[in-house]
């Protein structure tokens, strides 16, 4: 079946602009995660949604970052007033629940110029 999809695959933006990154999880998966993959920091957790529970936002690096998940499915990660250090690959993953394997999307490569 279809895996996790993300869009856009690449995004180039100017410093100070806002960006929105989208994730479509595997149908039926209740858990959704956002991670960031960057040269200096490796792979780091950003935010986690599980069903109707309040999201775990403990990994968001600043209040410029936010995410929502509508209808328990699609998620959008928003970065306001982008900075050059936000340049990274943003990965989304989903799973059937918190004890199950996470399936990763292809990522969105964000470049802030």
């Amino acid at each position: 079946g279809a895996g996790v999809s993300q869009s856009p695959s690449n995004k180039v933006t100017e410093k100070g602009k806002d960006v929105e990154l989208r994730c479509d999880p595997i149908s039926g998966h209740t858990a959704l995660y956002w991670y960031r993959q960057s040269l200096g920091q490796g792979l780091e957790f950003l935010i986690y949604f599980q069903g109707n529970s309040a999201p775990d936002k403990s990994g968001l690096p600043s209040d410029r970052f936010s995410a929502e998940r509508t209808g328990g499915s699609v998620s959008t990660l928003t970065i306001q007033r982008t900075q050059q250090e936000d340049s990274a690959v943003y990965l989304c993953a989903s799973s059937q629940g918190w004890v199950y394997e996470q399936y990763f999307g292809p990522g969105t490569r964000l470049t802030v110029t």
């Binding site: 986690y48 993953a93 996470q102 990763f104 292809p106």
Partner: protein, 110 residues
């Protein structure tokens, strides 16, 4: 705090040689340990997890709680094993979010 350490950024071996990718962790509770792999131009995917005790593509990993290690091993490397390998940790206290090591690039030379 939970932490995963992969001491080698790059490991280069010849085809047919044994491979060991090192992973050490720190965690106060009962961790779940994973190895994820990312082949060139492919998405990150699960290779194996310690609770399943499986051997995937000839790779095995044993959780050693005394040494807090979860090293990935394969007796005979193949060229198609060349990839980035990440060790990751999760635990009930932290939901299911994964804490990743920095990753090790494995290059298998012919």
């Amino acid at each position: 705090a939970q932490r995963v350490t992969q001491p080698e950024k790059l490991l280069s071996v010849f085809k047919g040689a044994p491979v060991e990718l090192k992973c050490n962790y720190s965690y106060s509770g009962s961790p779940e340990l994973f190895w994820y792999v990312q082949y060139s131009r492919q998405r990150l995917q699960l290779l194996l997890r310690h609770i399943s005790r499986e051997s995937i593509k000839g790779f095995t990993a044993d959780l050693n709680k005394g040494e807090t290690s979860f090293h990935l091993k394969k007796p005979f490397a193949q060229e198609e094993d060349s990839a980035m390998y990440y060790c990751a940790l999760s635990g009930e206290e932290y939901g299911n979010k994964l804490v990743f090591g920095a990753g090790t690039i494995l290059r298998v030379k012919s």
